[in-house]
């Protein structure tokens, strides 16, 4: 009791889960609160992030992309250079360290694109823990390479055939597993979603992105950026980049969602742009749903954005106007994918390719002395085969 009030972002957030999990969430919150203020925990985490994951990641001025788009100066926060190829490991190292502290020997996770699954399997392998990852069978087909990587790392990948066979259903199944094995198992949620304290905890672990970017841009340019741009599925890389700039009122934030085949067609995953508030996966937040409150199937070319919910803090940012949210289509995202590869020699994951695609709209409207920092949340190795299949080359 009493702990729930702190799990709110305005009216969003909360804990809408079966009673069985509430004591586990209370315990997790207590342990996390302790670790948050424990210099020893923070130092240990920082050490792993530095020596094992490759932090700090560079903030790179994308000169050719900037020239190509002809407007604001574009800087890329290179989370794609991290161990396992995406920002996800910032969070999994933190949570798995917490699991070790809590004496849990078994880790479970859900994964969409597979990046969070790989990052969880990696951290579990490094600490010698048992690891089961739930993944929609549709996503397993789209991201075969990551399935194989998880297995190489010693994790079991459990196919989920229910519902739309994507991330949403993988989370359902992971929650069911956790309800069943709650006493022995730590559930590593991969985004700023789920019941309290997950949205706050994952945000804190990912905030290292924004903290570094803030210091780096000041060092490189002597000032703060005008815009932050990041893709939003559940929203962890965006929240990690945005949050440390929360009080910098002149820094505008834009979250880029998956517009799929187009908002009009209804086949998309643009939760904040086109959704309405509701309850899914333990939190009150924006949601893609029908009039009867059933969660709608989503579509995105990118498995990591193919999710009908979004982190509750993003819902709060949207309602208060602290961040703006837009959608770009599959087609535009694929153009962004190629654009970055050809102008900068960086193949982005399809998720941040959405953020890159939005630069085509944003950058040309900006003066040449304006600064845009883009969250490049992951690299595109995992998507190369998928893109080649789509484009038939």
């Amino acid at each position: 009791m009493g702990s729930v009030a702190s799990g709110r972002f305005g009216k969003y957030g909360g804990r809408f889960v079966p009673e069985t999990l509430i004591p586990a969430l209370d315990q997790l919150e207590q342990e996390y609160t302790r670790c948050k203020d424990d210099p020893q925990f923070q130092e240990e985490l920082a050490r792993y992030l530095r020596s094992y994951c490759g932090r700090p990641t560079p903030l790179y001025f994308a000169q050719r992309l900037t020239e190509h788009l002809g407007g604001g100066r574009i800087y890329l926060k290179r989370e794609d250079l991290l161990h396992t190829g995406a920002h996800k490991i910032n969070n999994t190292m933190g949570q798995v360290l917490l699991a070790v502290r809590m004496g849990k020997r078994r880790i479970i996770a859900e994964t969409g694109a597979g990046q969070h699954g790989v990052a969880t399997a990696t951290a579990a392998a490094m600490f010698g823990l048992e690891c089961d990852v739930y993944m929609g069978s549709e996503d397993m087909a789209r991201q075969e390479l990551n399935v194989f990587r998880m297995r190489l790392l010693g994790a079991r990948v459990l196919a989920v055939d229910a519902g739309s066979r994507t991330l949403k259903d993988a989370i359902n199944e992971a929650l069911r597993d956790w309800v069943t094995n709650v006493r022995t198992t730590f559930y590593v949620i991969g985004s700023v979603v789920g019941p309290h304290p997950y949205p706050s905890m994952v945000r804190d672990f990912q905030s290292v992105i924004g903290q570094e970017a803030r210091a780096q841009i000041r060092e490189q340019t002597g000032r703060l950026p005008d815009y932050l741009v990041a893709c939003v599925g559940g929203g962890s890389n965006a929240m990690g980049l945005f949050h440390p700039f929360f009080d910098d009122r002149d820094v505008r934030m834009v979250g880029v969602e998956a517009g799929g085949m187009g908002l009009a067609a209804g086949q998309h995953a643009a939760t904040l742009v086109a959704g309405t508030p509701g309850v899914l996966h333990g939190a009150f937040s924006y949601l893609l749903q029908d009039d009867a409150g059933q969660v709608r199937p989503t579509h995105s070319v990118s498995a990591g954005l193919d999710y009908p919910g979004v982190g509750p803090e993003h819902s709060y940012f949207k309602d208060t106007g602290r961040a703006a949210y837009v959608a770009v289509s599959d087609h535009e995202a694929l153009e962004g994918f190629h654009l970055l590869a050809q102008t900068e020699g960086i193949i982005p994951a399809l998720e941040p390719a959405h953020a890159i695609a939005y630069l085509k709209t944003l950058a040309p409207t900006l003066d040449r002395n304006r600064i845009v920092v883009v969250g490049l949340s992951g690299r595109g190795d995992k998507d190369v085969q998928h893109v080649s299949k789509i484009e038939g080359s």
Binding site: M1, P18, T20, A292
Partner: protein
């Protein structure tokens, strides 16, 4: 006194255990559900529990998931289930089980008013812990609906006090850490859990999740005021042949097993 409270008062007087029987509404269609409700009543259920289909039922195992998917494939909504409740209402009290989002989208007040009008006596919302339930309770009380919260083997004494304070009608005790589904045996820790709840609350305690056979029902009747049978009935109904007759017979078997018990201690 609510109709649910009356059931337990009556059963207590005759030293009997309540049988709560669950069906997934709209599986495979609403007309069949109406027939099933009749079969459950004839078989001897004391309380009927209608499950409202939801796309993401995280507290449910595969049997109920499939049932909800079949119902959703037919486009069954919460509004349809309320209409159905109004049509099948009888002397046997009725509880609605729904995940929170369909209720929230329907509008809490409208939902409670229309539930009461349809003859629904109580609400179970498996993903709404009592901490988050202020709004639902505010709408349910004036409508005369009982709010039934769940407790689990992991519940601390503080959680038990909270759920007990906010529950009316009865307390829903989850027998295992896990989701709904058919299971082989009654967990040993159940006895202690029910006793812990009983020391904190005078409300009747009904045990559900995994109660699949008359024998298990009888074991649970030794400790609890009621037995909730769900997935076992739903899986019986997955086989269309003689569905209604088999359902009625199974409920009758459960009833007989419960009634064959020696008189319970108060």
């Amino acid at each position: 006194m609510s109709r649910l409270a009356q059931v337990f008062t009556r059963l207590r007087a005759s030293h009997k255990t309540a049988l709560v029987a669950f069906v997934a509404a709209g599986d495979p269609d609403l007309a069949t559900t109406a027939e099933e409700v009749g079969a459950l009543s004839r078989g001897g259920a004391d309380i009927l529990e209608l499950g409202v289909p939801f796309s993401d039922p995280v507290a449910d195992g595969p049997v109920n998931q499939r049932a909800y998917q079949r119902a959703l494939a037919r486009g069954v909504t919460l509004g349809d289930v309320l209409d159905l409740a109004g049509r099948v209402r009888s002397a046997v009290p009725m509880v609605l089980l729904s995940y929170y989002n369909p209720v929230l989208q329907y509008g809490l007040q409208r939902f409670c008013v229309e539930s009461a009008r349809s003859g629904v006596d109580g609400l179970v919302v498996p993903d709404l812990p009592p901490d988050e339930a202020d709004d639902l309770i505010t709408s349910a009380r004036p409508a005369g609906l009982d709010t039934i919260f769940l407790l689990a083997p992991t519940s601390t004494d503080a959680r038990i006090r909270l759920a007990a304070a906010r529950s009316t009608g009865f307390i829903y005790c989850v027998s295992v850490t896990g989701v709904t589904g058919v299971r082989d045996r009654v967990p040993e820790e159940l006895h202690g859990l029910v006793r812990r709840i009983k020391t904190q609350s005078p409300l009747p305690v009904c045990v559900g999740f995994g109660v699949s056979t008359p024998q298990q029902a009888r074991q649970i009747a030794g400790v609890a005021d009621g037995v909730i049978v769900g997935s076992a009935l739903v899986s019986l109904a997955e086989e269309p042949q003689d569905r209604i007759a088999r359902l009625e017979q199974f409920v009758r078997d459960l009833r007989e097993a419960l009634d064959a018990l020696p008189a319970r201690e108060a």
